[in-house]
Every structure is written in structure tokens, then in C-alpha cells.
Symmetry: C4
Subunit: 151 residues, 4 copies
């Protein structure tokens, strides 16, 4: 198999990156359509899936959504991100999906780095594949259909 694992960031990939604050802090995130369908296809292709998030304050929300979809999720700080992934996965067989400034190293070092279309320019310049979809609007399904034809 060309690819073995897909590791994905959450905010900006499964959401548009925004978060809703009230006076108590971060209380809501908006997740998008089609990603659940996409994850099912990725699993059927034999890929191991892992989600990571640097957002500590919003982690219980993130966790709830990823649990609902049956995808393992870990809190990993931005600083630890690269080592955390490198220690657990063979980067030469790992697809990484991310939209953030601190995702650039992983996008470069993984065999396939993917960024949503609404990522900052500098992030997209460091990706192998920029999706047509925006974060929170079908990124994972687009990747799944792409891989179905390119494994």
C-alpha cells in the first residue's frame, strides 16, 4: 500500500477554523457536511485514521465530534506536533492534512501533505495538494474520492 495512515488537524479542516465565544469562552464549533462520509471511504481503503488538535480550550468539543464519528483524537500542542506524529507514524507512508502555520513542517515531511483551499498562502505553498473544498465544507470527502482513484 502506498499510504498507510492519514493524520488530520481538526480546526480549519473539519471546521472553517472559527470558534464561537460567549462570556465564558469557547462554547461552539461548527463542523461541516460530507466529512463523515469521507472518513468511511478512507477506512474502506485500508487507511488508519488519526485526528490531532492543538486547541486545548475547545478540546472537549472537538473530542465529542470526533468520538461521534469514531475517529481517534489526541490533544497535541503546536510545539510537539511534528515529533508526536513522527514518533507514532512512518512519515513516508503518512498523509497529513492541515491548514495552520505550525503545520508546515508536517506538510513538507509527510509523503502527501494536503491543505484546504482557504488555508493561508504560505501553508498552501508547502502542500502537495490543495483541495478545492474549504475547511468545514467537504475536505475529507474530496480527499477520500481522490485517493480512491490514486492509491
Amino acid at each position: 500500500l502506498k499510504y498507510k495512515n492519514l493524520v488530520t488537524d481538526v480546526d480549519g479542516v473539519l471546521t472553517d477554523g472559527g470558534f464561537y465565544y460567549n462570556t465564558k469562552g469557547k462554547v461552539l464549533k461548527k463542523f461541516g457536511p460530507h466529512d463523515s462520509d469521507g472518513f468511511k471511504i478512507l477506512k474502506s481503503l485500508g487507511l488508519s485514521l488519526q485526528a490531532i488538535s492543538a486547541d486545548k480550550r475547545g478540546f472537549p468539543i472537538t473530542e465529542k465530534r470526533l468520538n461521534d464519528m469514531g475517529i481517534p483524537i489526541s490533544h497535541v500542542t503546536e510545539v510537539d506536533r511534528f515529533c508526536w506524529v513522527e514518533n507514532r507514524f512512518d512519515l513516508s507512508k503518512t498523509i497529513f492534512v492541515g491548514d495552520g502555520y505550525h503545520d508546515i513542517k508536517l506538510l513538507n515531511e509527510c509523503v502527501l501533505g494536503i491543505a484546504p483551499s482557504n488555508s493561508p498562502k504560505i501553508v498552501k505553498e508547502n502542500a502537495n495538494y490543495v483541495t478545492d473544498s474549504c475547511g468545514g465544507n467537504g475536505v475529507i470527502l474530496e480527499i477520500a474520492l481522490y485517493l480512491e482513484n490514486n492509491l
Copy 2:
């Protein structure tokens, strides 16, 4: 009458497909303008209306909105979707509106398959008519005005 029934998916048609999570799960959906006006016109054209949704966790929210508009709504899983519609309606007289990967068979088999403009590419390729409107931004009104001139 050329068409007898209109069956529509909810998420991605009457909404942009997103859902708002807090730590307890799915708590909010955003419904769009003009759909209530559209449904009234569709009824006046003599069409029977039915909404279906595969979203179980968010179903009480979906149900509340559709009840407020007076449109019958049923929870139908993605797997059962095709059979459920086929068992109840004559597909040769049924319009189907959907935006999801699992809607493709119904879009193909119903006499008129309609997808909102922001559906995934593969969904739009399987529709007879792609609306100018995005999901949650006037899809049903656009369909109603189209049918008014094309019945």
C-alpha cells in the same frame, strides 16, 4: 401532472450542511431564508412534499424546523434511503433534492434530481439540475420558481 412528489434531504439543502457542536454534541443548525416561501409555492402547484434526514443526533432540531414549516419529516438512514423513497413514491413522478454522496442513486433514479450548487462535484455530476443557490440560501424557492415555469 408531470411531477407528483418532491422529496428533499434537509442538511445541505435547507442548511449549508454545517452543525454546531458544544461539549454535549450537536446543538444548533442554521436554516436559511426563502425556503418557507418556496414550500408554499410548491404546495400551490399541487406537489406532495416530504423531507428526509439521515442525521439521527440532530433529528430533534430538524424535526422542530420542518414542523414549524408544516412539512412532513422522517428519519431515514443513508443505507435505507433509496428503498424508503422507492417504496412510498413513484420515482417516475418524483423530484429528489439532495447534496450528499449517499444521494447519488436517488438523484439518478428519480425523474428529476436536483443538487444545490455547493454539493460535492460527484453529486452535481449525477443531478439533472444544479441550482444557482447554495444549500441554506434559497434552494427550495429557486426550485419552486423553476417548476412554476416548467410544469
Copy 3:
């Protein structure tokens, strides 16, 4: 004075027309920036302001926002809309702003009918002026600056 009153719809003009549902019903509306600045300019130009809304379930939310901006607001059903405005204002001196299918008659009969850019096509075809701004993103400020130069 060329114009005496400005009557505006709320949903789709001061918002993008969406509303947020939970299991209890309509609970949130998203209002946009710049409209408060716009209303202040309109007042300074000597225009009388009136907001109307056909949304009964969301009216307490609408009312709260318009009260916060100091703009009079009335609940007027879609059916009564035209008569309600005609009975209270001289249409030949009244600007009307609306985005809905049921706003078409008022857009035609008022001396200046204005529709936000994201209104349905049929609504825009019946307006004298279509703003560059989308509903909930500066429509009232755009109108105020336009009138400042065209009174």
C-alpha cells in the same frame, strides 16, 4: 426632501437571512457590522426609519436587536405587508429595503426599492438598486453613503 421615510425588512437585510435552531426552535440570529453606523447617517440625513419583520417566532430576537439600535420595529405578516406600509407612509417618498419574494410589490411601488446582492434573482429584478453588500454585511451603511451623495 426627495425621500422622507426608509422602511426596511430585517431578516436578509440586517442578517444573512439564516436562523439558528435548537430543539426548542429559533434561538439565535446573526446580525452584521456597519448597520448601526448606517442608521446613524440615515437619521442625520433627516429620514424617518422603520423596520418590519414577518418572522413571528424570532420576533423577540429581532425586537431586542432593533431596540438596541434605537430603530422602531413592528411585526407585520407577509400578507399585510403592503397595506401596512401604504397606510402609514407616502410611498412616493418612501425607500423600501427587502430581500424576500413577498417584498416584490413594495419594491415596485415605493419610490426607491433596494435589494441586497444575495436576494433571489426575481427580487433583484424588481428593485431599483441592488446593493454590492450582502444581507448582514453592510447593506444599511452602503445605502446611507449612497443617499448622502444622492439626496
Copy 4:
């Protein structure tokens, strides 16, 4: 150093300018991705940071978010805005970021005035630099990366 301070408006820069109302009033704001990364870079460039907001009703929400990012925030009315900044900072060394009609004087008088791409036309015409990013979608990161190459 060419620039010493960066003063930024909040609504419309760190958010898209919208606010979510329920029947009690303003209850939620949506903050965007990448700004926290951007502020870290700006600090590392030696800039002093200050956020200001004219929104009194939503100030506790604004304050919570800015506190979470470690950025000082003050409530300053629109009328006082120019004097408040002028009294505290040397405008010839101050960058100002804003999207509002009442930000025009500061955009003109500060040595570098920056407006997000979705600001009203008249605001953008008074800025030295209009970002590619929309408010609430990476404005601060874009500015930080720009300054990194132009200090």
C-alpha cells in the same frame, strides 16, 4: 525600528463583524483561525500590541477572547477612538488595523493603516494596505507575515 505599536479593532478584524443575538441580546461572537499565530509573530518582531473595541454590549465576550490570547484590550467609544490612540501612541510609529466607518481617521493618520478585504469600500480607500484575508479569517497572520518581510 520602523514600527513600534500595532493597534487593532476587534469586530470585523478578528471576527467577520457579525454578532449572534438571542432574546437577551448579544450572546456570541465568532473568532477566526490563525490570529493567535499571527499575534505571536508580531510580538517576536518587537511590536507592542493593543486591541480596542467600541462594542460595549459585547465587551465581556471580546475581553474573554483577547485575554485568552494574552492581548491587552480596552473599551473605547467610536467618538473617543482617535484621541485615545493619539494620547497613548506615537502615530508615526503605529500600525492601525480597522474595518469601520469610524476607523477612517486613524487609518489615515497612523503610519500604516490596514483594512480587511471585506471592509466597506470607503474604508478600504482610506487604508494603505488592504489584506487579502477577510475579517475573522487570518488578517493578523497575513499582517505578521507581511511585516516579517517588510520591517
